[in-house]
Chain length 293, copies 2
């Protein structure tokens, strides 16, 4: 049976280190400050924002949420971001996605000052990722890389197969893991909905990363004996036996996969907590750089 | 025997179209203008710059080379670029690489106005490539994509294996070919010097792209029967029988490869001419956008 990679525990370890960094910055009169902009009242977004704010406050990172109405104009939103860009007391700016359809998401992301872009979604930060320059790496890919490193799973020379080509996970993670760097230097394959014969690819993976957003799409027979499986999926499936009427599952069919894999991340409790920990990491980094502490 | 993909001929077709575009712009009082900055006297760089300028002039694109001495300071170089950024008559700026060791290449690339970055090397343009936004795509990857499209080689659902992870070819090409777009939608694997068992990867490729910069590293037995082989290598090998004492070869061992492959690009006369044609394409695009013609 596969070993469980405990994302909650690893995230706690990282946050313990960050807490010390925050105290150091505070002693230098810099209070790291993350501002989250939330447009509208999407329940899932509200939960995510609350989790981020809570994590920040637990580390003594100052955190504020700016709630904007669903019908806020793009101009008003850009004006809000502009004032956050200019505010020296703000170190990290996060606009919770998705945005309402009338707002151009890319225009909004492009308006965030790259030095405060703790999500790592600004083109200039994405571009620096590719050339290996110092930048804010997007939180989920960075969390996965950290989780592997802290579990002593070496990516060097391994064949990593990523299922999913999103701008948030699949593509930046592929670019990160292929770099000639510690914690990387893997041979990387990116699969997606256009891939023919997905099984043939997943079965070649030493490290298989499921980031497609489809419940249980990766089952045991698609996995090589002894592979490491990282499940990025967060899918809601109906479950009448649950109080809520649903439960959250990953992209991997956990039971069949854990018979074949050597190590696997659970959902929940795997990649999710790592993503939030890395958002805190990026916020502390932004504060340090902007305050030159 | 493999069909030869004639890069020279395809590049000529593209340039014929571009010539019409240039005339249209000229009729609107916009003369597309490419400025090349050449630092020092590296003979290879001088040849490349001359080829680019010659190609521009043949299309009635205005082109000028600014020659700077090897010992130019970084400050002076950045000042030169700044004045080109501000000059409304300049549409494309290309700094010929490599630069002397005392100059920070990344700082120089980052100083070019993204709207004039016809090489597509600025982080903001690299980042937009990843998210599928309109941008200047780097010339060699774009040339390869165009060469495949104009040879009616469909990448959709194919397994593309790229050998080489450079910022100029391998990484941007991988990101381009994996997009959910026409001329892309391939499953993409990136191999490199850290790859274990390279043959196992290359033999899986429907389309194999050799961009490692090592003469003859891909031989026939490493190629799947019927695969398409694109050779990006430009390597100088000793050849006493040649007047120059050397000849230019690719990364692919042409003779053994062309027995196995269904189609192959020669070196020279394959990817090289395409790269220059796409530089012209980007220059015309920059002129059109900046003049709003």
């Amino acid at each position: 049976m596969a070993a469980i990679i405990d994302g909650r525990q690893i995230a706690e370890e990282i946050k313990l280190d960050l807490k010390k960094d925050v105290e150091q910055l505070r002693n230098l009169n810099c209070v790291p400050n993350l501002v989250v902009v939330l447009v509208g009242k999407d329940p899932a977004s509200q939960i995510y924002v609350r989790m981020k704010t809570k994590a920040a406050l637990a580390l003594r990172i100052s955190s504020e949420t700016i709630d904007l109405p669903t019908d806020v104009t793009q101009e008003q939103l850009l004006k809000t971001i502009d004032s956050l860009n200019k505010d020296n007391n703000v170190h990290g700016i996060l606009v919770q996605l998705p945005l309402p359809a009338h707002i151009d998401e890319k225009a909004v992301i492009n308006s965030i000052a790259p030095a405060k872009d703790v999500d790592g979604f600004h083109p200039v930060n994405r571009g620096k990722l590719q050339t290996g320059e110092d930048t804010f790496l997007p939180c989920t890919p960075l969390g996965i890389q950290q989780m592997l490193a802290r579990s002593e799973i070496d990516t060097n020379g391994k064949h990593v197969v990523i299922v999913g080509r999103s701008n948030i996970v699949g593509l930046p993670l592929a670019t990160m893991l292929v770099q000639k760097q510690a914690g990387a230097n893997a041979t990387v394959t990116v699969c997606h909905t256009g891939t023919v014969g997905l099984d043939n690819h997943t079965k070649n993976a030493d490290i298989l990363i499921a980031a497609a957003g489809r419940a249980g799409m990766i089952a045991g027979p698609m996995i090589k004996e002894g592979a490491v499986v990282i499940d990025v999926g967060v899918n809601r499936v109906d479950d009448p036996s649950s109080d809520k009427g649903y439960r959250i599952v990953g992209d991997v069919e956990f039971e069949s996969a854990s018979i074949v894999a050597s190590a696997i991340t659970p959902v929940p409790g795997g990649v999710g907590p790592m993503t939030i920990a890395m958002l805190m990491f990026n916020t502390v980094k932004a504060a340090r750089q902007l305050s030159q502490a």
